[in-house]
Symmetry: C2
Subunit: 438 residues, 2 copies
């Protein structure tokens, strides 16, 4: 289990047109390199200036980090954090806590009564910090879940105000709540959209409370920022964004993110949101798929290899799994080769075999390689994915930082619940049903 490399790197060999079809030609790489250089010269300053959206790629200053640590310090005696948020308000911290194996982080990100009650009935509220997260402060699911939680704490005679903090912007219902009850307020920067907030205080606060090393995460993020350059030939993040975009233009309408590490399962959800909400607009958008190696070799590989050639796979290879688990020798004559094999060697070899299996039929793939699933590498990985996403939006000339298409449904929901007559609510009421089996 030697770790020989330091920074995140990617292998694009299986996306080149000598292997993949469709694939990227060397002329196209040069052209992408030129385009990225031009874009970088524009967005580099925007990152430094904390311009809207681009601010996500900037790194918390030492002063901001100190403020965050001072803020979370007062909660550090609690064993649990219950994050109440949805979408980008929950996935960043959930991704980090899951990957780092931090216990005690619970997330209410749905309004499923059965799942929520099961979680809440098993939670020791006396030992739990409540972390309410919403940029607007008016997200229906988050407000609803907060009211349910507060009621339960009141019923248990727990002073909820003494162990609750609010992450929101400087106005709105949650801001008013913090004002009324004197709750600590963590500012949700209006310059960072929710799905880009994984490396901001929004997501780092629960991690700090649970004892994670925010400093190491930020060191990794800094390394990611430093790796952004004017050339895709030296910048893994920009190269990933540019190549997936070009493959999309060539008909690769779907991208399956397939880490070979169970700790990165929530990370695939975070990536799926990042990709879908940032790039899915104006009639375009590569569809993100979530897979898990090696398990999904026995589930999705058949389709990937033999289906339409409209899909790429992004493998994540973890060099060091930080756990030694060895297959003992056995009486199975046919399996002598498994004797004394480490599971991590087996897992990484499975990745190589699957990668080769796709290359064999010209299905494009990219391998992202990281040393291990630790704070530094995660900071770098998350930063790299956001930079990839931003360069992809720029190359396609779309706004990567808005999500206008979700508003219609929100309006429809609100109008139905308030009994307001509108074109949205009447669409629901006048639904064109055609039942079979009813």
């Amino acid at each position: 289990m030697n770790v020989t490399e330091e920074y995140m790197r990617i292998d694009i060999g299986n996306s080149i047109d000598t292997v993949a079809s469709p694939g990227i030609s060397s002329d196209t790489l040069d052209s992408l390199d030129d385009q990225v250089a031009a874009i970088h010269s524009v967005i580099g300053p925007k990152i430094n200036n904390n311009s809207f959206g681009y601010a996500a790629l900037n790194i918390l200053s030492p002063e901001e980090l100190k403020n965050l640590c001072d803020f979370t310090e007062s909660f550090s005696d609690f064993s649990n954090v219950l994050t109440i948020g949805i979408g980008g308000s929950a996935l960043g911290s959930a991704t980090l806590s899951t990957a780092l194996g931090l216990s005690g982080h619970y997330v209410l990100d749905n309004v499923d009564p059965s799942a929520n009650l099961t979680l809440l009935n098993n939670l020791d509220f006396t030992d739990t910090v409540i972390n309410i997260v919403s940029l607007s402060g008016s997200t229906i699911e988050t407000i609803s879940n907060f009211l349910v939680v507060r009621n339960l704490m009141n019923e248990q005679n727990i002073d909820w105000t003494s162990q609750t903090f609010v992450t929101t912007s400087n106005k709105g219902p949650l801001y008013d709540l913090s004002d009324k009850y004197n709750l600590p307020l963590l500012p949700f920067s209006e310059f960072i959209p929710g799905r880009f907030s994984a490396l901001s205080s929004v997501s780092l606060a629960p991690i700090a409370i649970l004892g994670g090393s925010v400093e190491e995460i930020l060191k990794g993020a800094r390394s990611g920022l430093d790796s952004l350059s004017e050339s895709i030939y030296s910048s893994p993040a920009y190269a990933y964004g540019a190549i997936t975009t070009e493959l999309f233009n060539l008909g690769i309408i779907s991208n399956s993110l397939m880490p070979y590490s169970e700790r990165l399962e929530t990370f695939t959800e975070w990536f799926a949101q990042l990709w879908s909400e940032s790039l899915g607009k104006e009639g375009i958008g590569q569809i993100p798929l979530r897979a898990m190696g090696a398990t999904d070799q026995h589930s999705q590989l058949q389709l990937y290899r033999a289906g339409k050639r409209n899909l790429m796979v992004t493998f994540i290879d973890v060099v060091n799994h930080q756990t030694e688990l060895t297959i003992p020798a056995s009486e199975f004559g046919d399996f002598d080769y498994l004797s004394n094999l480490d599971l991590d060697t087996l897992l990484r070899t499975e990745l190589q075999a699957t990668e080769a299996s796709l290359a064999d039929v010209g299905c494009p793939s990219i391998r992202i390689e990281i040393d291990q699933v630790d704070s530094f590498c995660l900071g770098e990985l998350l930063h790299g994915c956001m930079a990839s996403c931003i360069i992809s939006a720029e190359l396609q000339g779309i706004n990567g930082f808005d999500q206008p298409a979700v508003e219609w449904g929100k309006q429809a929901l609100k109008d139905i619940l308030t009994g307001k007559s509108s074109s949205e609510s009447s669409s629901i009421q006048n639904k064109n049903s055609y039942w079979i089996g009813k």
Copy 2:
């Protein structure tokens, strides 16, 4: 929370061409109806005769059920079952136990050393039945995990042979193992491919051991079988399979399964395998996506509504969530409409709003409605999905029961591990790498 219906039903209104674009015309529905009638007259007898593959839609006989119950009876004092399997050998039982909320079911379906060790270190082996599942009896990941588990049990001086059973065919390494150690053997029917085994003894055994009602699951499956008829106008399962197939032919290359119930999360994985391995071949195959309502409205909806019109959504609406959780009244003036609202009403209204939001832009969707997530409805739902998948394969003239494209990677893995020189292993060794950042 009134339950007014009994059987699974689907609403295809939002896939009809008066709403969706692309959408299904009434002429096309009639044509599909004719094709399904012809197919049903052929496969109906195959189901009854337990022909290869089609046998999955047949229901265990009373005698087979009795044999299963007799088999599992001897393990019923154990609190836990550890299922060691991968793909279809694990997903059926995992889907059922998760959806039914049965505690004590653990699954080793990957060779991730970190995740596996965490699971195994927290498991009380003295109270755990080991359930090794592999049709061929030679699945590398399953053999590897079994050897690791056996070693741990030996180290803890637990007689593993007294609490282990094997689910496999009537030959192969696991069959030999059961013979050597006199382990109880549950036959894995060679007529039922792994991904179609959710309603067979393979998946039902752990459920029975943990106290689930296998009889109710089979009653639901029987109801699903009875609903298969020569007309799509009266058969929800056939209608779902026929319409998704036709939409695929019209360019809807992806299908997002979006239940509004957290208990159905593993079910989406099961469905994804069923769809991918059965239909992804010969250059075709609709790509299954996994989503979760309402959470993914804040993650995937932007893409679904505003991206390429190449995607459909399958909503699963659960009428009765079997849990009452009410949002209390609050001081938030803007949210009066949430006061005393039940979470399940909120959740179901979110589904309706999202469905309308997609219909508004012509994105096709289908709603599957079930009464509740219980044994009966699950049996019917899983049966319906398998019947849908089979009718889809028939309509497209492909073999829904094989998965030839996974063999290449398996061979490559084995050849690399055994050091055998082959075209597969040399593809790995001679990989055309192109590193960025290394």
